[in-house]
Assembly symmetry: C2
Homo-oligomer: 352 residues x 2
């Protein structure tokens, strides 16, 4: 199979961790007889510096032409604490999501037995946690009308959802539930918000098409509590953009494996794969960042974008092996030997 992949390394540690994912992907492709063509493109602060735009048109064209996008991280400290700056890396992210139509953000949270002690939660609370959030990513209050009124003394944001937007996301949720344990939780604030009532109505209507799926409806505040109390009670959760932003970040810390969590953003045509961690500028260029979340994002890409399950499994296996054998970066070394980012990548590629 010929795989055309757009490569958006981004800022901070992005380029370093992306390099390792490329090595591992190339190794798995060689083993299974595929050929990958990587097309790099600029994004984030790097793109602002080069062409004054965090998601330039050229980059968009590269993404559209590709079968999948592998993404590092964006964000740079010089843009922090200045949310009103004219051009910001995050705007590139939002523009990219919208222009590529990446409507479903898939964020798994699971535990690695060898890392479970790193969780702030007690082991007995998180054992067996294996949940996945489906966050709507191109609608809601992120993309609604906003502005100032009344002589700059009033600000407003609008949250809007159409039935079609909810349906598209919810269907993905039901399908995912069918492939997992047939449990789906719709997270909303239907006791207050009209958009949430539309969400609930729409999901309720879909229930008859998936009679095997057991659906629950929970309020976002309750889920924010229960995620910390008993995360293993959840399986597939679907929710709107802003709730998803908050809850997926909350969920990511409970497993103790935050630095290892991959994610996918699915569109009708193109899909994008990226680690959930940020650009971690303090570590940039030092060859110390943990590349595993990006490598596991590449695994998600093989499985989700190309339907190549064995290839994905091969990557996950070699990652587990590296953890078991202690071939890990300093964040996981725990007093043992700390390998460099590039050394971990080389080891993974060789052991595929």
């Amino acid at each position: 199979m010929k795989l055309n992949i757009a490569l958006l390394a981004g800022d901070g540690i992005g380029p370093e961790v992306i390099d390792q994912a490329v090595k591992v992907s190339d190794a798995v492709a060689a083993k299974f007889g595929h050929e990958i063509s990587w097309t790099p493109a600029l994004t984030g602060a790097a793109a602002i510096d080069a062409v004054g735009e965090p998601y330039p048109d050229q980059t968009h064209e590269v993404c559209v032409a590709a079968d999948a996008v592998l993404f590092g991280a964006i964000g740079h400290p010089r843009f922090d604490n200045d949310p009103s700056a004219k051009v910001r890396p995050e705007q590139g992210l939002l523009k990219m999501r919208q222009k590529l139509g990446l409507f479903a953000n898939v964020r798994p949270t699971f535990t690695f037995p060898s890392l479970i002690e790193k969780s702030p939660l007690k082991k007995e609370r998180i054992e067996g946690t294996d949940l996945v959030f489906l966050r709507e990513l191109t609608g809601g209050i992120y993309f609604g009308k906003r502005g100032r009124e009344d002589n700059d003394n009033t600000a407003y944001d609008t949250c809007t959802y159409t039935r079609a937007e909810v349906e598209r996301l919810a269907k993905k949720g039901f399908e995912m539930a069918m492939q997992r344990s047939k449990k789906l939780c719709c997270v909303d604030k239907a006791n207050v918000l009209e958009t949430s009532r539309l969400w609930r109505e729409t999901v309720q209507k879909l229930e008859k098409d998936y009679p095997e799926v057991e659906v629950s409806y929970e309020f976002v505040d309750a889920v924010a509590m229960r995620l910390v109390q008993w995360p293993s009670a959840y399986d597939v959760l679907i929710t709107e953009n802003l709730f998803g932003d908050i809850l997926t970040d909350e969920a990511s810390v409970i497993s103790g494996s935050m630095g290892l969590m991959p994610s996918a953003s699915l569109g009708e045509k193109t899909s994008l794969f990226e680690p959930i961690h940020g650009s971690y500028p303090q570590a940039a260029g030092k060859d110390i960042a943990n590349p595993l979340a990006t490598v596991l994002s590449a695994a998600m890409m093989f499985e989700t974008a190309f339907g190549l399950k064995d290839e994905a499994e091969a990557i996950r296996e070699v990652v587990n092996k590296s953890l078991a054998e202690g071939v890990v970066t300093e964040d996981l070394a725990d007093g043992g030997k700390a390998y460099k980012t590039s050394e971990v990548g080389n080891w993974l590629a060789e052991n595929i």
Copy 2:
């Protein structure tokens, strides 16, 4: 001093836990030479049953005439999973907040050394946690314009804030920070929302009036993570209505003392005090519910509404004593003797 208190017991376990708070308040009043006049009024499902309205006008008049409101809990299972029902107990809550102008919800989260093991988080993560959220309670997306368009196929909600609303809440936050450890965190989503940018601007302008307060600005998704990672890093947090709804519930579970957490909702004239737990209908009428959160809410009332610090301290002390001596309801009994709700109340009143 003569204290006029409106008594809104509400639904479920509300009446039982309120009874204990009344006993303890009367005991502390007798000890310190005050006289309390309690005026009961209907609210929640109880009010819907009686007069078809969750927050009837008569109840509002009782609250307006009082110096403070002590509130139990509202909510009844027959209204659950029917968010579009015409009359719902929660509507009473929102109407009450709005009509009484309860603009600042104060939600402390602290640890009781004897309960620290109940937390889902590891002890070393939560030791020393003592934070307080100030949630804006009468604005934002809870009270903005909402509706349907496009043949019922689109729903929208509007989040609106005025500079004056933000300033009023933020000032309370700065004042509270001055009385505590002079650290204030403004939680927003200023990288996306215009209302958040107004929040940040307004808080930034106030900084010069409180030069001793160290202010930080964090995004809501980051706070959702850090609350679980290192809750003790926070002190006073201010935020808008919906973020506050989610984060205060999340924060309430980390200390392991959720069943004991009080809260206050401050208005310009009247203030309201209530436990953060719900109406817990399964336990209603069984005399088993833990009354301590309501008793501690009464303590907050003495201190905040009446400036009676010693009285508040006397209540907190007797609560600590009951915990130390194991005079607790079944949720805290841990294999030891479980006292009834009313027995705990009697013991507290006698030991004041």
